[in-house]
Subunit: 615 residues, 2 copies
């Protein structure tokens, strides 16, 4: 049915059985694809209260209706599950070539359930699904496992896998593709690990059909023109997300020293012209012209010789600014370790920052750090801690639990320095400096996400609905956050790359045009998509509500709401995040009650009558 195929492959690890299922058309019309259908499946199938690391948890990996087509930026894959890190509904998105390959194999989503009795990988070749012994690759870093699995299957297969961190049930472990793209947040790696599932290897021979080829190609040409003329394209093409590091710092948005926001000495190291000196290769995900992927080469210092995928903006913060570390080479090295071990760099950097602050304050001492001096900015210590976390060695075994749980274990007032929302570590955007974005983070169903409801551009001067946004104001932020969150969810029905969709500025109307041409469903337009986005977002909140996660969990760390930004070289000096007032406004805009739960009217309005019984 032209893109709206709704083909699901249910993979039962317990019984080594796979079944083909089809989503009904009305579900597809309501949720379109990707994040929409994943949330729908979890709502329907995930019993509340389960242990996220038990066989009862499900891992849904889905793609959008445009995956594998000629459109640009629509080939990512999205993983949804109950998170062992946050205890909430979760969604994490990855790039590379896996999404397109899954489409070529004939599926719109995989539902992984149960637990294999021994290390297993699943090899999907079109309709052929095999449960294979993964004992040989169990324990291997991602790169090595990839090479072995390609040899055991077929050279040009694509995969999603875990590294030792996922196997070790590290709560901040990632899902990693064959080309080292990750869906890293929320501990998806541990979910796969708990299922004894090392990898999902996919090879497909089909190609997606398009309802109206001519219109579709016209829309793709429009898309290419928009991307080409976008200023973001130029920047991302030349240096990837790193183009933003220095500017975000100057703008006061790039947090330092575990969000203490002190001046970062030597921050000039992050200037684009310095970072670009390391680039030796550009690459992109399936069918993308932006090619924001950069390969770095290190020729100096103790890591000289290393060639690896560049640390993204977030990682330059996580292992850099957040830890007072300006040694670019060590950030690249730590990033390499995280990719190979399969670890979320944002969360890893956050727990390391947390540990460094505790050490500085004397809350923990050398006897608790395996003898290491956790000094801010020490490159060797940072790399060592990444390894310890992934392998659960010494203090790494505590930090592997994520910052919320680590603070619980350590106690002694340490929770004050645990920078998270709902257990998900804060990313590299200071909510005190960009309050709409902060509001998105604090109300997001998954915790402090760096990609749900981004309004960085708007809070750096790009108008929102024709109005200039004051980043420090509290007024009107509810409306912006709601819109941005719904828009993200709308794009993620097609699992759009946020860089292409939001930053290069593909209007929802063009996404709608692509969808109409691909599927033949005429009524899809921008408003339709925004409504689907809102529907998905509310459904996700409903899943959380069913788990008992309500307004009490919409909380920023104390530092964000009470400690003002210290840096006096930025206009953001003195800002705090006025949580209470903004959340109140936001709930109102959302049509939610004071518990942060959608009202019955709202659910009806969104066509989510299914949820009424539970809420």
């Amino acid at each position: 049915m032209y893109g709206f195929t709704g083909n699901i492959l249910r993979v039962d690890l317990q019984n080594k059985k796979s079944t083909m299922e089809s989503l009904k058309e009305d579900v597809l019309r309501r949720f379109i694809g990707g994040r929409g259908i994943g949330a729908w499946i979890l709502w329907r199938e995930l019993p509340p209260g389960i242990d996220p690391l038990s066989p009862e948890n499900k891992l849904v990996i889905s793609i959008g209706p445009l995956a594998g087509t000629k459109a640009l930026g629509t080939h990512r894959w999205i993983a949804q599950f109950k998170s062992p890190l946050t205890g909430t509904y979760f969604r994490s998105v990855g790039g590379g070539f896996f999404g397109a390959e899954l489409k070529f194999a004939g599926y719109d989503a995989l539902i992984i359930e149960g637990r294999a009795d021994k290390p297993t990988y699943v090899y999907i070749y079109d309709t052929n699904v095999e449960f294979r012994d993964a004992s040989r690759v169990w324990g291997m870093t991602t790169e090595a496992a990839r090479d072995f699995l390609l040899e055991e299957t077929t050279k040009d297969a694509r995969m999603v896998m875990i590294g030792p961190a996922g196997e070790n049930l590290v709560k901040i472990s990632a899902l990693v593709t064959d080309d080292m793209r990750t869906a890293s947040r929320g501990g998806g790696g541990a979910v796969m690990g708990s299922k004894n599932l090392k990898a999902i290897v996919v090879k497909g021979s089909k190609r997606p059909e398009i309802f109206d080829e001519k219109t579709f190609e016209e829309a793709v040409r429009e898309e290419i023109e928009i991307i080409k003329e976008s200023p973001a394209y130029e920047g991302f093409h030349s240096l990837g997300t790193n183009i933003a590091v220095y500017g975000e710092y100057l703008g006061g948005c790039f947090p330092t020293y575990n969000y203490r926001q002190e001046k970062l000495k030597g921050v000039e190291m992050f200037k684009p012209e310095n970072l670009s000196r390391y680039v030796v290769k550009h690459y992109g995900c399936y069918g993308c012209m932006v090619r924001c992927g950069k390969i770095f080469k290190l020729t100096k210092g103790p890591y000289a010789g290393l060639v690896w995928d560049f640390p993204e903006y977030e990682t330059h913060w996580a292992f850099g600014g957040n830890l007072g570390n300006i040694n670019i080479e060590s950030i690249t090295y730590a990033n390499m370790l995280a990719d190979r071990y399969g670890l979320d760099t944002i969360s890893a950097g956050s727990v390391i920052g947390f540990a460094m602050e505790l050490y500085e304050r004397g809350i923990i001492g050398k006897s608790e750090t395996d003898g290491l001096e956790l000094r801010w900015g020490d490159p060797d210590i940072i790399c060592e801690l990444v390894r310890k976390i992934a392998l659960r060695i010494g203090i790494g075994n505590i930090l592997a639990e994520g910052v919320r749980k680590a603070a619980e274990i350590i106690g002694r007032g340490s929770e004050k320095y645990a920078m998270h929302v709902k257990g998900l570590e804060l990313p590299a955007h200071d909510p005190r400096r960009a309050k709409a974005f902060g509001l998105s983070m604090v109300t997001s169903p998954i915790g402090a996400s760096h990609t749900i409801g981004i309004s960085t551009f708007e809070e750096f001067g790009i108008p929102f609905k024709g109005r200039r946004v004051d980043p420090f104001a509290t007024e009107g932020k509810g409306e912006i956050a709601k819109y941005m969150q719904d828009e993200t969810a709308a794009y993620e029905t097609g699992v759009w790359c946020i860089f292409v969709a939001s930053f290069c500025g593909i209007p929802l109307e063009l996404y709608a045009k692509l969808l109409r041409a691909a599927t033949g469903i005429k009524e899809i337009d921008a408003q339709y998509l925004l409504l689907v986005g809102e529907r998905i977002f509310n459904l996700e909140r409903a899943i959380n509500a069913r788990e008992g996660i309500d307004a009490n969990y919409d909380r920023m760390p104390e530092r964000i709401t009470k400690e003002p930004i210290l840096r006096d070289d930025t206009k953001a000096k003195g800002q705090v995040f006025e949580e209470e007032i903004m959340i109140k406004d936001y709930y109102k805009v959302r049509g939610w009650n004071e518990k942060g739960i959608p009202t019955k009217e709202k659910l009806k309005e969104l066509g989510l009558e299914d949820c009424l019984l539970y809420l």
Copy 2:
């Protein structure tokens, strides 16, 4: 001309020019191929007294007449040059697939000369030779450079390259193939580095012709039968060279603590049944059934997740027994670093052992070791020093010079603990325990080689010419050493793998049969080959003599000649290497004068009249 093609490609880096040349048939009949023609070329073309790291040095890489045929174990490549480590003539041998590919491209040897004005690699596709910019891959570790170069040339090309160690002119740097096989000894990496040559990439489309296919195939079948029935095959097939580690230790032949030969606590870690637990994959060089290559997987300790080529016997000694280190995981990790940086593991282990002994004795202190405590057996220190040597950081900058020069720089009596012959670090066979092998080492033109003139088997009980050999006796060792050295040189005209030729026991007569069938030259038999071997060995000594390297350089370190083996759990206890008496005997057997230089009569007898003018 069926195998005896004598095709030479001369690669002039200075002028970016390549020329095809042909060796005359009489040269081929005298030297056959491989080591023979390489030594001949260096004798003819290398001016005495040149700086090995100057453009005047030449790097000859050659193969044997059976490379790329159906024979087994004859596809290695041999690199010959003046060594920056020893100042002598040098030869180093590597495996993998490069040798066969060079044959397929139509060449029996490459002569690399001059120096490129900037980082360069040479891409040879049959008769097409390109000099390409290597700026992008300069500075990369071997694995990364390999991936980039395969992308820039063709996916199934083969290469010999250098890592950062070679670029940094580290005197103990290796030549490394795409599959991480190395010709590691003597600093060939630095020779390539000094020429600004990152890699030689080869792809060929031809296949070698055979004079008499039927007889050749019959001979190959004989070869296969011999290999199959050899006890060495079983062992090497299951665990590679590591099968020997524990046995050699028990036999007192596996030196410990920089050759102090004290008991190694925890040596049981090296038992075959323990090592084999790490193996996840077997692999072999071109056309080999032994497949002695093993891939290890580490699942415990700080290096968990690593999957890498197994450390060979010598490396288990170099980073293990020699340093009092029984942590198998760290040996694998250090080996991985050495492969990626392009470093000779034997020499690296030896200079580290030297440094540890100096530190223990208080000859060097923390102020000279960058603050590191160089304790015996500390896995982290060992890995850190490997990195420092390859990158010439801190103390690594001194150790990178090799143990002889490092002792010169440090002074303070440290030369007493520098374990080398002619500047080449001693390998993992104690000359005090296997004196014929020791005699081969001390008289070898390249210094203490682990592969020239091996008599381990004989000194562990396998009869030599029908006689049982007493490993501790001095009598008759001259004859054994001479024979073994000549035999090695004979095999290396075909660049035979020493494991297949010597350990699986392919008789020279069978090599002769293969050669006759391949080339049509009827007069080749075992005696002919042994004479060629002796001719080559004498020619190599003549090259050294021309450089002023004579009997004065045939010297073991004092520890080997004066300090008896300490371990009281071996029959070798109390043994020293009686150098003077054995060398005297050896010179006599060789027909050399007291200066260790071939007499005129000897040269004439060997058909080396060319050398008369110089000696």
